[in-house]
Symmetry: C2
Subunit: 298 residues, 2 copies
């Protein structure tokens, strides 16, 4: 049995999976804020899954953590996990000390990529396109994470596609993330709705012209990300996940429409069958925690 923990900005998701990678137990709890509280959250998650499975920390084949920010997967160090109040934390080392067993730590998007790959039973190459506050992709090749030379593979949200676009937090202008991310929607469509993208889609469906323009930019930005992933890595599958993926089939259909429109003016793009490569991650599935459980073994 493997244990995986996804430490998110507000809640933490922990799962136990068996040898076949099937989900056996799942626990959700609130995430603490700050270094000590984040470590405590992980320790509590291990204990709760331990109660359900009857296994002590040392009884699992592996324990893996997915967490936002810059993660050094070799050392288990985490940096810049801003939403968790973590500037620099030796998470792997601290947890090993508390639990008495080794723990693997991975960036949450990369962990989710691995989880989605296994959950969907994919083979070959896949990109998991995470549409959260920002945009980033996790790339899986033949069942293994592709980290690249310096660990920044898949940071496609910061590829500029329009010199006249909005200024990005990264200092560049017109990055894909400035139109296709949670922060892009929040900036362009101020609302009290806790899920601004849902409010945006509702307004667009009701005929609001500006909402339609913003929703159109969102779909185009996602389509641009798909094009980047295919023309560079040539991934067979692009799986859309993250907060904005809760828009569901409407979002997927908008992205498909953009890709099909592009194919009508470019026979080259049409030949790549981009729409067929894109799908949504299954709603409600704990892909990040599942992937975290698998990180230890891959």
């Amino acid at each position: 049995m493997r244990l995986g923990i996804d430490i998110g900005g507000t809640k933490t998701d922990a799962v136990a999976v068996d040898e076949s990678g099937d989900l056996r137990q799942r626990v959700r709890l609130a995430t603490g804020f700050g270094h000590a509280a984040v470590v405590e959250t992980a320790v509590t998650a291990v204990a709760r899954i331990g109660e359900l499975t009857g296994l002590p920390a040392g009884g699992f084949d592996s324990i893996g953590i997915g967490i936002p920010g810059m993660v050094d997967s070799a050392s288990g160090d985490v940096a810049h996990a801003v939403n968790l109040g973590v500037e620099r934390l030796e998470l792997g080392g601290e947890l090993a000390g508390r639990l008495g067993v080794g723990v693997r730590v991975e960036n949450d998007v990369k962990a989710a990529a691995l989880g989605a790959y296994h959950l969907l039973g994919l083979g070959g190459t896949m990109a998991y396109l995470n549409l959260g506050t920002g945009m980033a992709a996790g790339i899986v090749v033949d069942g293994r994470l592709w980290r690249g030379a310096s660990g920044i593979a898949g940071e496609i949200g910061h590829l500029p596609v329009d010199p006249a676009g909005a200024l990005c937090a990264c200092g560049q202008r017109g990055c894909i993330e400035t139109t296709a991310s949670g922060s892009a929607i929040a900036r362009q469509w101020p609302t009290d709705d806790p899920f601004p993208a849902r409010a945006l889609y509702a307004a667009a469906a009701a005929g609001d012209t500006e909402a339609r323009v913003i929703a159109g930019r969102l779909a185009e930005g996602i389509a641009s990300a798909v094009r980047v992933l295919v023309l560079t890595v040539d991934v067979e599958h692009v799986v859309i996940g993250g907060g904005l993926s809760h828009l569901g089939e409407r979002l997927l259909s908008d992205v498909h429409e953009v890709l099909e429109e592009w194919g009508r003016t470019s026979p080259f793009l049409a030949s790549l069958a981009l729409p067929r490569r894109v799908r949504l991650v299954p709603e409600g599935s704990p892909v990040a925690a599942l992937g975290a459980a698998l990180v230890g073994g891959y």
Copy 2:
């Protein structure tokens, strides 16, 4: 001993390399036009290298061909090698019939990528950025070609970066190739010089404002390609080759300048050390033929 042949639009380059991958013999000849003449060119190249090495076709450990166009490396079939007058040619099969031994066929940019990787003694991940009539990259991972799910990995020349850019032959607008390729220079800077980019650079050096703008776009386009390769695949090295690479150190210095300027407004980009990842392929080295010789063994 391995034999590699690079079939180019006007000339063909053939080499024999020894077990260490060192160049032992080299022959250059004119490329024939059309299906039969292309096959004949390859057969002649094998014979000429055979005379120099004293080896019959069956005496080489492998024979590999690099050729422009869409190449099915599994079957040896070639399609759309327009400059060679080849629409669809079973090159691998025809050559096997003529030579009595198996022959590996690979796209010329991919072969050159493999050749550059070995010539420069690189490790890890590398992209060979070919600036020919068009722009495309060949990606090498741990010494092996990265082909992707459908063989189009590295076709980054057709990633749009400016909605207001020029119309591309592929049907899209503002592709990187519309500013950073031989065809882009020829379109923007009409001249009788057989090497329009050299004429462009000379005019820019002499103070011509328009030439400076076009040369600036060229450097920015190449820098954009580097950014795409690093933020997606996270390659450690980008090696610039192809016709435009003959502009040499001046081109490299212009590209470095753009990347450094970007780093000044984006701490994120600056942290990626992009300028340090970029270099030129050594002038005059037969990387494509060398890579073709290695294709059979990798």
